[in-house]
């Protein structure tokens, strides 16, 4: 069987991805533990959860800016550019594949190439998560670490309360994204192909035997 190999995940990106994933998991677990804190059923001791959550949040912010620099100044940035023309149709096509075509053995409508790493659904969700939800989470998180920077009252409600609410909702969306993201790992030529890709850096497609590289 012929295999097409694309080097899509340079080493720095893979290290960033795994560190980021680890930080996210710690943040989600400590966040849930704080949100549902109880004297009777503590998941993680409250003060430990608070300190760990704050510290990990600071690391996540640093990690995010490393990613942002990568997007702005390396060639991975092109993968996040959305071409608005025909995007909705393309998005619908990819969604149809995930919800229907995949069960009929159809091929993914958008093949991975050196120019387009993400299909339209991935492009949309990664952009929303990486450029909206995560910044929202760490900006509100920093506000909660330094609560004196938050406006005292908004329409009669505590500014801290509203900030916390946005923070918790954004955190919830990230947990939902994480679960779906973990499942999507198994959607590939084989259930482990995508997992191997993010470890080795090479995307494998079954068809031709050719190796291309970027950002080595």
């Amino acid at each position: 069987m012929k295999k097409k190999k694309l080097y899509l995940y340079p080493l720095w990106l893979r290290i960033w991805h795994h560190v980021n994933a680890g930080l996210m998991i710690v943040l989600i677990l400590t966040g849930i533990s704080m949100q549902y804190s109880s004297p009777d059923y503590p998941l993680i001791r409250f003060d430990i959860a608070v300190d760990t959550h704050s510290f990990t949040g600071i690391l996540l912010t640093a990690s995010y800016f490393i990613f942002l620099l990568g997007v702005l100044f390396t060639s991975i940035g092109r993968y996040y550019v959305v071409k608005t023309e025909g995007f909705v149709t393309a998005f619908g096509k990819q969604l149809r594949f995930y919800l229907y075509g995949i069960f009929r053995g159809e091929k993914s409508p958008f093949a991975v190439t050196i120019e387009t790493k993400f299909n339209p659904v991935q492009l949309f969700s990664y952009n929303i998560v990486m450029h909206a939800i995560i910044p929202f989470t760490f900006i509100t998180g920093w506000g909660l670490i330094f609560p004196e920077t938050i406006v005292l009252s908004v329409f009669g409600y505590s500014g801290i309360m509203l900030t916390s609410l946005v923070h918790a909702i954004a955190g919830f969306f990230i947990s939902v994204f994480l679960v779906i993201h973990l499942y999507v790992i198994t959607i590939g030529p084989t259930t482990t192909t995508n997992l191997k890709s993010i470890i080795s850096g090479y995307h494998e497609d079954i068809e031709t035997e050719k190796t291309e590289e970027i950002d080595k």
Binding site: Q35, S37, P39, F46, S158, M161, S175, V176, T186
Partner: protein
């Protein structure tokens, strides 16, 4: 043995006192306005001297006069007095009539000092305060007069300035500032603390170093919320606990069964219960307490969304597996 005074104690503690006093001064300015009735002449007579920073003393025998400083402990701020809980009383309602003689005779130094119960026991207007229970709780507390000699209601509740901030509601920040200023009057100032007890003044900030977001806690909750045992019949707890028995477990406040609902927010809890599905909704107008302010609707919505995602993934995975088996 004289108490050891640490200069740093005073510096840090006074900083706290200034923050508390700042909040208090805003309250005072708002409380008194032009619509307030004129001052009773009998009160005015006392305030002519005790309401000022200096007063003129006349020797009744030779007619000589001298201008003297009115020391802080004897000075009454007219606005604070008139807006205080006891501001409607004329001075001799509580003080000896000997004060009507000028200069005051030495006998005034030996006058009997009333306690709260002298007036408020068996007084039907005071039933809601539950003074008997307050007295019982006070006696159990580390402030009880069997622990500290000469400690009385007045040691915390200055009869000339005391206001019912908690019972009358208002901004939680003002209630916190007013209440904490009472504690810091002694615990933040060795000159007051040393009058009551011969003991080293505890360094407030270093003692609370373990507390995350220290300044936020100091601004948002009262000292007594952690340092006093809640009593269901009292709006304000008076059973002050030793430091070793005070709240140190974060989740006692940071959970849906937050003890703050029985203390700092008790007066509001009685008025209104949950709003827009927030557990402990009363907290949400003034603060946000992690773990105590979960929202019922958000809880349900997040459980439903998360559940649907898991079910969706499970169905997707099963269908993929079936298709995979069919292809083989």
């Amino acid at each position: 043995m004289p108490a050891k005074i640490q200069i740093t104690d005073l510096t840090f503690a006074r900083r706290l006192l200034i923050i508390a006093a700042f909040g208090l001064s805003n309250l005072t300015a708002l409380a008194y306005d032009d619509k307030h009735p004129p001052i009773d002449p009998e009160i005015q007579q006392c305030l002519d001297c005790h309401g000022n920073y200096r007063y003129t003393l006349t020797d009744p025998e030779f007619g000589e006069t001298v201008v003297l400083k009115m020391y802080d402990e004897l000075r009454i701020d007219p606005i604070e007095y008139l807006t205080a809980a006891h501001g409607k009383f004329i001075c001799t309602d509580c003080h000896s009539p000997d004060y009507e003689t000028h200069p005051h005779p030495i006998s005034v130094k030996f006058e009997y000092q009333n306690t709260c119960l002298d007036c408020h026991a068996n007084d039907e207007h005071s039933l809601k305060f539950n003074f008997d229970k307050i007295e019982e709780e006070f006696q159990l507390s580390i402030h009880g007069d069997h622990f500290i000699e000469n400690f009385s209601c007045w040691s915390c509740h200055n009869p000339h300035t005391y206001r019912l901030t908690t019972r009358e509601g208002g901004r939680i920040a003002d209630i916190v500032a007013f209440n904490n200023a009472m504690c810091l009057e002694c615990h933040g100032d060795i000159s007051h603390y040393a009058v009551l007890i011969e003991r080293q003044l505890t360094h407030m900030l270093s003692k609370h170093e373990w507390l995350p977001n220290q300044s936020l806690h100091f601004r948002k909750i009262r000292c007594i919320d952690c340092h006093a045992a809640v009593h269901e019949d009292l709006l304000v707890a008076h059973h002050v606990l030793p430091a070793s028995e005070s709240v140190r477990n974060c989740v006692e406040c940071h959970s849906t069964n937050s003890i703050l609902m029985g203390s700092l927010y008790k007066h509001k809890t009685v008025e209104r219960r949950n709003r827009f599905g927030f557990f402990n909704a009363e907290i949400t107008t003034d603060a946000y307490i992690i773990g105590a302010n979960r929202n019922f609707y958000f809880n349900v919505a997040s459980a439903v969304v998360f559940g649907l995602v898991i079910i969706g993934i499970a169905i997707h995975a099963i269908l993929r597996y079936i298709h995979f088996r069919q292809r083989r």
